[in-house]
């Protein structure tokens, strides 16, 4: 059973535009909703994360929107830059993720100059 569905698989956005990546989940026990960013040849790195007691969290150009009733959360990248070109993974977990992460399939984002 696939617990996490991430979309789209790939995304091309013009510089300055808004990039939106979505993650749908099934497990209502999830209580921590992080997004990871991965550049080629590197391991993933935590970008931003949200807990279910808030509906939105913003850090600079990056925003997570969380919809508990729909069991969805999304990553918005405002004013997208070529340096944002990377693969993004959602990795919702229960228990804060102390026992390991389950990643979505990833979204390959390309920001065109």
């Amino acid at each position: 059973q696939q617990q996490v569905k991430q979309s789209p698989q790939s995304l091309i956005v013009q510089k300055g535009g808004i990039s939106i990546i979505n993650c749908a989940y099934e497990n209502t026990a999830f209580d921590y909703f992080p997004w990871y960013q991965q550049f080629p040849g590197k391991g993933p790195a935590l970008l931003i994360a949200i807990r279910p007691d808030v509906s939105e969290k913003k850090e600079g150009r990056f925003t997570i929107s969380f919809n508990k009733s729909a069991k969805q959360f999304s990553l918005h990248i405002m004013d997208s830059q070529p340096g944002d070109s990377a693969t993004y993974f959602c990795a919702p977990v229960s228990g804060g993720g102390a026992d390991g992460l389950t990643f979505g399939k990833g979204t390959h984002l390309i920001i065109q100059p």
């Binding site: 993933p44 102390a98 390991g100 389950t102 990643f103 990833g106």
Partner: protein, 114 residues
């Protein structure tokens, strides 16, 4: 170095050989995780250690895979009798071990089984 380190960075082996992959976590991190990243399967959780013990081994793909951690620090992932489907990037991460603590990933070991 302040980050998670892994060695070797690349490993090419022949089918049927055993391989050992090493992970050096961030100093002071009690939790250590192994993941596998491949084109077909994405990022898969393999196993995690809290200190030297591994409470959850359910992610290991088969009994050819094993992992150990000694002294609460360095960990090795061993794959016996490698198969071509074992070709992937093996990633290690470490964290302070409590809930909601960030996992810091190493650069990975790219394993190619010929």
């Amino acid at each position: 170095g302040a980050g998670v380190s892994q060695s070797p960075s690349n490993k090419v082996t022949e089918k049927g050989k055993d391989v050992e992959l090493r992970c050096d976590p961030i100093s002071g991190h009690t939790a250590l995780y192994w993941y596998r990243q491949s084109l077909g399967q994405g990022l898969e959780f393999l196993i995690y250690f809290q200190g030297n013990s591994a409470p959850d081994k359910s992610g290991l793909p088969s009994d050819r895979f094993s992992a150990e951690r000694t002294g609460g620090s360095v960990s090795t992932l061993t794959i016996q009798r490698t198969q071509q489907e074992d070709s992937a990037v093996y990633l290690c991460a470490s964290s302070l071990g409590d809930s909601y603590n960030e996992q810091f990933f190493g650069p990975g070991t790219r394993l190619t089984v010929l």
